[in-house]
Amino acid sequence: MSSPIRILLCSGSDAGISTQLALHAAKKSGWVPIDWANPSAENEESPFYLALLNALGVSDAAVAVAEAWSSTSIVRSVIHALATWNSLDAESRFVIDCGEISKFLAELNDVRALREIALHAMRPELLMDDAGRHLHAQLSGSIQALEALFESLTTQAVVRVAVRPGSFAVGEISRIALDCAVLGLVLDCVVVAPAGKKIGRSEVLRFKGDLSEARPDIPVVRAEEMRAGPKGQLVHERCTDAMAVGSVREHPGPDSGTYVGEVLASGLDSAELRVGVLHEHLVLATPRVRRVLPLPSTLVRCTSRDAGVDEAGAHINFSVEPSLWPEAFAAEAGLSVGEQDD
């Protein structure tokens, strides 16, 4: 990952701690803080925001849209970020408060679900008239644009999670890392909150040690250890080593007539990960989130057999489906490959 990180998504085991982390990171690095969970009154009253809510409010008949957009904080966040972005210089960087991590990931999953709905539920043939089909085409285009926006988070944003000893199970961090990776976000590091009145320093240190032992690949720091860095730099640049799920790439397989689909990402090596194929898409799923990725055209014309997952990512084995290749079409039409049917 060579491009600079421009968005730091601060989340936490609870919403309050995520705000503290975001403000702390902004103060340390000089980035622009944005409280997505609690947008300003000015933003809430913006014509665009009100128009969007108004549209959602009257969309009870458009069940697909209303259902997936019922939690609008992510959409609200995008609007807020874009509005802020447009008013700042192009080199600005954002520290964004995303609230409670489980809710944030669930809402991001819902937004991504729009694409699946457009692809597999709102089929044009099910929309009764030309007007409906035309609007469906328009909406599909818009959903793809929204999807592209979230895809871009993969290369420009990282997630930093703050946790409190005593209220956060150590095992939870692996589930968070897996869900982040599937949704296309790199987990930058885990910040252990400062010791409070009820939690001593020794307990904080022990908790940090347990987290590090559970996931040695994820940096764990105490908030007190975070140091100020030059403006525009993350306190920890570990994210340059980590990768989130981006796309499926194809390679020739070990045997003739086989191909391998490759998804490079850190943190996928988990027993919770499921891998599937849905029409022309690869599906990565955990019990909490799901992601569909378009398959390269070669793999679309293959049948999938099985998959392997390791620390480098996922590899899916495919075999050529002869009936889907040009030779089969040509033979059916009575032509040899290369001939033109005039």
Binding site: F48, A51, L52, A55, L56, V58, S59, A61, A62, V63, V65, E67, A68, I79, L82, W85, N86, D89, A90, E91, D110, A113, I117, H120, A121, R123, L127, M128, D129, G132, L135, G141, S142, I143, A145, L146, L149, S152, Q156, H251, P254, D269, A271, R274, V275, G276, V277, L278, H279, A285, R288, R290, R305, D306, A307, G308, V309, D310, H315, N317
Partner: protein, 108 residues
């Protein structure tokens, strides 16, 4: 946002903020028009028939049922009956073929 560049990409842009707002307005417009269409054009054709559907999987040609099935799929295969059996592929009603997944170093 039809451009392949990330929406905040700035290095090669002549106009730093060009296009960003328009894309969101287009999205809003699409949502509004679809909502309006659904309200005025299809209430009788879609919503009324759906009111009698209790099992979404039994009505593959119903827009609402189909959407509900996709949403159920998206929101977690861990629900009862939603997970693939360990060691073999399975297909859900919505069509996902779940693959057998090996752990450890991948064979290439």
């Amino acid at each position: 946002m039809t451009d392949e560049r990330p929406w905040w990409y700035s290095e090669e842009e002549d106009e730093p903020s060009s296009g960003k707002s328009l894309d969101l307005w287009a999205l809003l417009g699409s949502v509004q028009r679809l909502a309006g269409w659904a309200q005025h054009m299809t209430a009788e054709q879609i919503l009324a028939p759906h009111a009698e559907h209790s099992d979404p999987s039994a009505h593959p040609t119903c827009l609402v049922c189909r959407t509900m099935a996709v949403l159920a799929d998206v929101r977690g295969f861990a629900e009862p009956g939603g997970s693939s059996a360990e060691g073999g592929a399975s297909v859900r009603e919505t069509g996902t073929l779940w693959l057998k997944v090996h752990r450890g170093p991948c064979k290439r």
